[in-house]
């Protein structure tokens, strides 16, 4: 348990750093970020989308176990639900520092505009937070009953252990049933925030929501895989080999679907050859070529690697594949922003002058020596403060997962050791 104390300490430190940076930002305004009028969303929204993705994946794993009876994964449904809960909590928190007036966020609940995809997202993410919490809760109830701890479980005192076991079983399944569509919804709706905007060609595609879901399944499963690997350790790897292989296959399979959407989308964006699409292509293959390369190559490597026997049959291989995938998916989330904001929507063509696409300059929003007043593109890269603030969900996930696993049984072996329960 020494290790988990160290991890909790680390998580606490990360959260503290991030809160201090956030405090600094609240005091000085979002000017401390490198976002400006022409490039108005950056690292925070990308990180938010990343965590929504891994969160969705977690419950998709644990729900499909219950719904489709995937026996090999059963030992890891608790970890999967916990990973989903922790990640959605992180995603929800990440959105807050992006607000210019965070103290007014409650106004969304007071005067919600139901036309706004952002409001839909608030609704589904709140629902998901409750569902993932319930999912963890009902799965832990039997242990809590047996060991006499836990919370919100006063009502179980008068019931028998068997009662609670079957209650847990029944409700785990029910929560999974409701949870699966909501898991798919959170990432669909998050994608719709972007995909609905005809102003931004890079986002405005119906392929975005299904692609988000496929990336979510890949990255969410990878997170469950990593937590599970760390939880059972190298020693018991062999025992759960089957489960790990299955998870690796889910990751690789959903990446195939992701690459399918990605290529179809590139073709549709590029085939017609209009000037806006050409601009987007110039950005992703030129100026942001490195990041785009990471986004493509790392997940591609993981996909291929996890399809090979070597890639999915050792602790180390699975870890490496997953970590590379996380980096790739994070790059993917960042790449949501660059080609979207660096193509100015108000572009004109002047046929007489032989000009195809001229971007109408936008006021930067900051008056400072050395900076132009109006720009037609903005070289955004996050500031140190932004990086520090964006650590928040990472710290939170680490804290919640480690803390919960320290306090309660999420590890599979304990469940196997416990006496089999009577089925009703």
């Amino acid at each position: 348990m020494k290790k988990s104390n160290a991890l909790l300490g680390l998580a606490g430190a990360i959260i503290l750093i991030s809160l201090i940076a956030w405090g600094y930002q609240v005091n000085n305004g979002l000017i401390v970020t490198n976002m400006r009028n022409p490039f108005s969303w950056g690292l925070y929204i990308a990180t938010f989308a990343f965590f929504v993705g891994v969160a969705a994946g977690g419950l998709i794993v644990s729900s499909s176990v219950y719904l489709f009876n995937i026996e090999v994964l059963k030992p890891f449904t608790r970890i999967a639900s916990l990973s989903a809960f922790a990640s959605i909590l992180g995603a929800g928190a990440m959105i807050l520092p992006d607000m210019g007036r965070v103290e007014r966020v409650w106004k969304v609940f007071l005067h919600p505009n139901f036309q706004s995809p952002l409001v839909w997202d608030v609704v589904v993410i709140t629902a998901y937070l409750i569902i993932t919490f319930l999912s963890v809760y009902v799965q832990l109830l039997p242990d809590w009953k047996k060991e006499g701890h836990g919370f919100l479980n006063g009502w179980t005192r008068k019931r028998s252990q068997e009662d609670i076991n079957s209650f847990s079983k029944k409700w785990s399944k029910r929560v999974a049933l409701v949870g699966l569509p909501v898991a798919i919804l959170i990432h669909t709706v998050t994608a719709l925030i972007f995909a609905t905007q005809a102003s931004r060609g890079w986002w405005n595609t119906a392929a975005l929501p299904p692609d988000f879901v496929s990336v979510a399944v890949a990255s969410g499963t990878a997170l469950v895989l990593v937590i599970s690997l760390l939880a059972v350790g190298k020693e018991q790897f062999e025992e759960y080999r089957g489960a790990f292989r299955t998870m690796a296959l889910i990751v690789a399979g959903s990446l195939v679907i992701h690459f399918f959407f990605l290529s179809v989308d590139l073709i549709v964006h590029g085939w017609w050859g209009n000037s806006e699409a050409e601009e987007i292509h110039a950005l992703i293959f030129g100026r942001y070529g490195f990041l785009y390369g990471l986004e493509i190559l790392l997940p591609a490597f993981t996909m291929i690697f996890f399809f090979t026997e070597k890639g999915r049959s050792s602790f180390k291989a699975l870890m490496i594949g997953s970590v590379l995938l996380f980096i790739g998916v994070f790059a993917h989330r960042m790449m949501l922003m660059f080609p979207a904001f660096n193509v100015i929507p108000l572009s004109l063509s002047l046929s007489g002058a032989g000009i195809e696409s001229w971007a109408y300059p936008v006021a930067l929003g900051q008056l400072r020596e050395g900076l132009p007043v109006f720009v037609s593109s903005w070289d955004y890269s996050p500031t140190l403060v932004e990086y520090a603030v964006a650590l928040l969900p990472f710290g939170q996930v680490l804290f919640v997962v480690t803390g919960a696993m320290k306090m309660y049984n999420f590890l599979p072996q304990k469940r196997i050791e416990s006496p089999p329960t009577n089925e009703k």
Binding site: S40, W41, R101, V102, H111, P112, Q197, G352, G365
Partner: protein, 232 residues
Amino acid sequence: MRLGMVIDLDRCIGCRSCAVACKSHNAQPPGTWWNRVFTPGSSFHQAAVGKDGGLQMEALPVSCQMCDNAPCQKVCPTGATYTDERGVVLIDYERCIGCRYCMAACPYGVRQFNWEDAKEVKARVGYEAGYEYGYPVDFRDKDGRLVFTPNRPAGVVEKCTFCAQYLAEGELPACIRGCPGKVRTFGDLDDPNSEVSKLIRKRQTVRLKEELGTSPKVYYIAPAKPIRLEVD
């Protein structure tokens, strides 16, 4: 009533008086410009563009297009952005949470964020201390929503309001009055006898990015100036 504007590109000389009048009347913080005037095609203002010796130079003023189907309003989670009974798209500075979704949604790049506190930044960039420019007091719409305040709070979005504070007094927006070329005409698009309606009927007008379906209420009279040299 649907208030709209017609801008005659034939008459615009690109002097940017409207941008300046707009900026000062509406007390815009440093770095914020509700109204911009640029020479399309050129990397800086008032430079001709062309090829093969055929040069042309137009000026194109752009501020909020007051879309009838306004994406900024549709995405706004709190309803801070709304369209009033005269068709003017406004922002309630007390309700905006600063999510900036509207900035991603607006196709015209007219929405601007207060990245820092307006009062502090004016002092920092060296605006003369004690010199206050622009409409001096708060203005609330008839429902009490704060749609103008001389020193904008940090963290909210702003843009052209058609000078809501002046409209309420029956006066014209500052850009209309400040334009020396009488390029801009303002009025009710629903009234067939208004000057704007007549102009739209009589002259050939275009709206920006019409293909996006935003239905702007700002119309441009296409320039009929002879292009100096027709290129084959």
